[in-house]
C-alpha cells in the first residue's frame, strides 16, 4: 500500500503479546515500526529518530502514559499520538489534556480499527488529502453537495446511505470495522447485538452494484468490510 509506506511509527507498549500483534499489523500495512517497552526507552527513541506518529499505551511500568505524552509535548514532539487504554471511558486527565490531533482507542480493539485510526491521525497531521471530491472507478461522490453518481447517473440514496458510501469510499481498499461504521455513520458508541450494519450494507449494495456482478463492498467476516477498487 503506497499510502502508508515510508511512514515511521513508534509503538510504546509493555505487554509483549499486544506489542507483537500491533507491530505485525502495522508492518503488514506498510508502516515502518519501532517499539519501546517503557517510557524511558520511548524517550530515548524519540531523541534518535523522527516519527510520523506514536501509539502509546496508558499503563506503562515506569511512567503513566499521560505523563509520557506530556513530556513528549514538552520536548517539542508534535507527532500525533494514538492512546491505547484498558479503561472504557476517557480518563479525566485526558479530557483536561488538550488532545489536539490525538486519538483514543480502548482495548480490546480490532487491528483494522487501529490501522484506520493511526492512518487517520497521520493524514490529519499532514493534511494532504482532497476531501471534498472522491472518484472511484465509475462512482463519483461530492461531499459538499452530498450527491453520488454512477456513470453520471444520480444514485437515489438516503442521507445515511450517502454517509455510509462516502465513508467506505474514503477508506477504499482498506478494512473498516462495524464499530467504525456505527460510530462514524450513525454516531453510535456501542455494538447492537443484532446485525443491523449488515442490513444497511446489503441495501447499499443493491443500489450501487450492477445486477449479476459481485459486490464491490466485500464482507470480511469477523473483521468488517472493504470497498474494493479495480
Amino acid at each position: 500500500m503506497p499510502y502508508d509506506s515510508g511512514m515511521r511509527l513508534l509503538l510504546v507498549e509493555d505487554e509483549r503479546e499486544i506489542q507483537d500483534f500491533v507491530k505485525q499489523s502495522l508492518i503488514d500495512a506498510g508502516w515502518e515500526v519501532r517499539t519501546a517497552d517503557d517510557a524511558k526507552s520511548a524517550l530515548e527513541e524519540v531523541e534518535r529518530n523522527v516519527f510520523d506518529g506514536l501509539i502509546v499505551d496508558l499503563g506503562l511500568p515506569d511512567l503513566d502514559g499521560i505523563d509520557l505524552i506530556l513530556r513528549l509535548r514538552r520536548l517539542g514532539i508534535t507527532a500525533p499520538v494514538l492512546i491505547l487504554s484498558a479503561r472504557r471511558t476517557l480518563d479525566e486527565r485526558l479530557k483536561g489534556l488538550e488532545l489536539g490531533g490525538d486519538d483514543y482507542l480502548t482495548k480490546p480493539f480490532a487491528a483494522a480499527e487501529l490501522l484506520a485510526r493511526i492512518r487517520n491521525l497521520v493524514r490529519l497531521a499532514s493534511q494532504k488529502e482532497d476531501t471534498s471530491h472522491i472518484r472511484i472507478d465509475d462512482l463519483e461522490i461530492d461531499a459538499v453537495t452530498r450527491r453520488a453518481t454512477q456513470n453520471g447517473r444520480l444514485l437515489n440514496l438516503t442521507p445515511q446511505e450517502f454517509l455510509l458510501l462516502e465513508y467506505l469510499c474514503r477508506n477504499a481498499g482498506r478494512v473498516v470495522t462495524r464499530s467504525m461504521l456505527l460510530a462514524k455513520v450513525w454516531g453510535m458508541q456501542f455494538q447492537p447485538d443484532t446485525n443491523m450494519v449488515d442490513v444497511h450494507i446489503y441495501r447499499l449494495r443493491g443500489k450501487i452494484d450492477p445486477e449479476g456482478s459481485e459486490s464491490r463492498i466485500k464482507t470480511l467476516r469477523g473483521v468488517g468490510y472493504v470497498f474494493q477498487t479495480n
Binding site: R88, Q160, Q189, Q191, P192, D193, Y202, R221
Partner: protein, 489 residues
C-alpha cells in the same frame, strides 16, 4: 477468675467515669457545707455577742445603782448568776452555768473587787486582765484550764471600775462540732451511694456497648449475618446498635450482590470462552469438514459479543451506583428517536416487521447524548430480538406535564407474566432470550440517573408497552444535571 474480673472492672471506663463523677460531687458538696457552716458559726456568735452586750450593760447598771455596802456583793452576784442561766446555746445537761459564765468587777485601783464564776479565780483574772479591752465589741479570752475560749464583753461604770462578763464558747463549738459530724456521716453515705449508682448505670450502659463491640468483632472476623443486640427505646446506645445493624444489612446485601454478580460474570465468561477455545481448536484440527476460516470468524464474533457484554455489564453497575459520568446537553428527543429509528428500520423490514414513528413536535430534554442514544437503541434492539415476524412496533415521543414521554408499543406476544415484575433487574430475561438480561436494566439505570422513570406493562389485548419519562427541559433553563454524578448510595 474473680481477681481477673476485679482487675478488668478497675480498668473499665465505668470505673473511671464513676470515680471522677463521685470526686466532683464530693468536692462540690464539701464546699457548699463549708460555706453553710461558716454562716451558722457567724450567726451563733452574733447572737451570743448581742446577749453579752445586753447583759453586761444590765450588770453595769445594777452595779452602778446598788450602794457599796455589805449587801453589794450579794446583790451583784445574784444578778450575775441569774444572767448566767439565760445563756444562749446552753446545753443544760452539761452541769451548772458556773464554768460557762463568769463575772468580774475590777475597781479603779486595779484590784479585782468581785468575781463570780469558776473556782480558779487567780488564773482566770490574770488571763482576763492580760487582754486589753477592745471598746464595745466582745472579744476572745483563753483561760488556763478551759478547752474552749471565752467571749468577753466589758463596760466601765460610773465609779470608774470595769465590769467584765465572759461566756464560754464551749456550747457554741459543740453545736458546730455536732453539725460537722452529722454532715460528714451523711456526706460519706451519699458519696458512696452516688458512686455505686453512677458506677452501676455507667457499667450497664457500657456493657451494652461492649456487647455490640464483641458481636461487631465477630462479624468482622467471620459471620456477616449476625446482628448486634439492639436494646429497645430511644437511647443513644440503642440508636448506635440499630444504625450498626442497618449498616450491616446494607453491607450484607452488597456483598451478596457482589457474589451474585461475580458468579454470574464468571458463568457468562466461561461459556463463551469455552466456545471460543473450542472453535479455535477445531480450526487447527487437520482434515476437518468445515472451513477453518469460518470457525475463526465465528470465534471473533463471539469475542466481540463478549467484550460488548462486559462493557454493558460495567455500565449497568456504574449507573446503579450513580457513578456514571454524565456530559449533559440539550437534546431534541424527537429527532434523536427519528435518527435511531432510521438506523433500525431496515432491520425491522428485513424481518417482515414494521417500525412506525409518531412524533408531533420537538421535545427537548437535558441528557447525556451517548447514553440516551444507547437507551433508545437498546429498546429497539430488544424489539428486533423478541418480536415475531409481521408485527408492528410503534415509537412515539410526547410532551407530558413537565416530562418528555417516549413510548414503545408492539403487538407481539407480550412479556412473560413471571418475568414482568422483575423486568428491570439485572440478568432477568425471557425463557427464549439469547441476550444477557442487561438491556432493560441498563435502560432503567440510565433513565434514573437522569431523574426519569421507566414503566413496562403488557397491553390489554396483545403486546407490550414501555414508557420512558424524562424531565422536560424548560425554556431558558440550562442543564441541571451534575457533570459527574458520583454519589454512592
Amino acid at each position: 477468675m474473680s481477681s481477673r474480673r476485679t482487675r478488668s472492672l478497675l480498668h473499665s471506663e465505668a470505673w473511671g467515669i464513676s470515680l471522677w463523677a463521685t470526686l466532683a460531687f464530693a468536692v462540690g458538696s464539701l464546699l457548699v457545707f463549708w460555706g453553710l457552716q461558716n454562716f451558722v458559726a457567724k450567726d451563733i456568735q452574733r447572737r451570743s455577742d448581742t446577749w453579752l452586750s445586753g447583759e453586761v450593760e444590765v450588770l453595769g447598771d445594777v452595779a452602778g445603782r446598788t450602794p457599796k455596802d455589805r449587801l453589794y456583793d450579794n446583790v451583784v452576784r445574784e444578778v450575775a448568776e441569774l444572767a448566767s442561766r439565760e445563756v444562749p446555746n446552753r446545753d443544760h445537761s452539761s452541769g451548772n452555768g458556773s464554768d460557762s459564765v463568769f463575772f468580774l468587777q475590777v475597781g479603779t485601783s486595779g484590784d479585782d473587787a468581785l468575781w463570780v464564776g469558776t473556782e480558779d479565780r487567780v488564773s482566770a483574772v490574770a488571763a482576763i486582765r492580760s487582754v486589753p479591752a477592745r471598746g464595745d465589741s466582745p472579744y476572745d479570752v483563753r483561760i488556763k484550764g478551759f478547752a474552749a475560749p471565752f467571749r468577753v464583753a466589758t463596760i466601765q461604770i460610773e465609779d470608774g471600775s470595769h465590769i467584765y462578763l465572759g461566756l464560754s464558747e464551749r456550747d457554741e463549738l459543740r453545736v458546730l462540732r455536732n453539725l460537722r459530724l452529722r454532715f460528714i456521716t451523711l456526706w460519706l453515705v451519699i458519696v458512696l451511694l452516688g458512686f455505686l449508682v453512677v458506677f452501676y448505670a455507667t457499667w450497664r450502659m457500657l456493657r451494652r456497648v461492649d456487647k455490640i463491640a464483641l458481636v461487631a468483632a465477630h462479624i468482622g472476623r467471620a459471620d456477616l449475618s449476625s446482628r448486634v443486640p439492639a436494646p429497645r427505646g430511644r437511647g443513644e446506645v440503642g440508636r448506635l446498635a440499630r444504625t450498626l445493624n442497618h449498616m450491616l444489612d446494607h453491607i450484607e446485601a452488597t456483598v451478596g450482590q457482589l457474589h451474585t454478580i461475580t458468579d454470574a460474570l464468571a458463568h457468562d465468561l466461561r461459556s463463551p470462552l469455552t466456545a471460543i477455545r473450542g472453535k479455535l481448536e477445531a480450526a487447527l484440527l487437520p482434515g476437518s469438514s468445515t472451513d477453518p476460516t469460518e470457525r475463526i470468524v465465528s470465534a471473533i464474533e463471539e469475542l466481540d459479543r463478549l467484550s460488548n457484554f462486559l462493557n454493558t455489564s460495567l455500565d449497568v453497575s456504574e449507573a446503579r451506583a450513580d457513578a456514571l459520568r454524565l456530559s449533559p446537553a440539550e437534546i431534541d428527543l424527537a429527532s434523536l428517536v427519528c435518527a435511531i429509528a432510521d438506523f433500525f428500520e431496515p432491520s425491522f423490514s428485513e424481518r417482515g416487521c414494521s417500525l412506525q414513528v409518531r412524533i408531533a413536535e420537538a421535545v427537548h430534554v437535558s441528557a447525556d447524548a451517548a447514553l440516551l442514544h444507547r437507551v433508545i437503541a437498546n429498546l429497539l434492539d430488544n424489539e428486533i430480538k423478541h418480536l415475531p415476524p409481521s408485527r408492528t412496533v410503534c415509537v412515539s415521543v410526547q410532551k407530558g406535564h413537565e416530562t418528555a414521554i417516549l413510548t414503545i408499543e408492539d403487538d407481539g406476544p407480550g412479556f412473560d407474566p413471571e418475568v414482568l415484575p422483575h423486568l428491570f433487574e439485572r440478568r432477568v430475561k425471557g425463557k427464549t432470550s439469547r441476550g444477557h438480561g442487561l438491556g432493560l436494566a441498563f435502560v432503567q439505570a440510565v433513565v434514573r440517573v437522569h431523574g426519569g422513570s421507566v414503566d413496562a406493562t403488557n397491553r390489554v389485548g396483545d403486546g407490550i408497552r414501555i414508557s420512558v419519562s424524562l424531565p422536560l427541559l424548560k425554556r431558558g433553563e440550562s442543564s441541571k444535571l451534575p457533570a459527574a454524578a458520583l454519589v454512592i448510595r
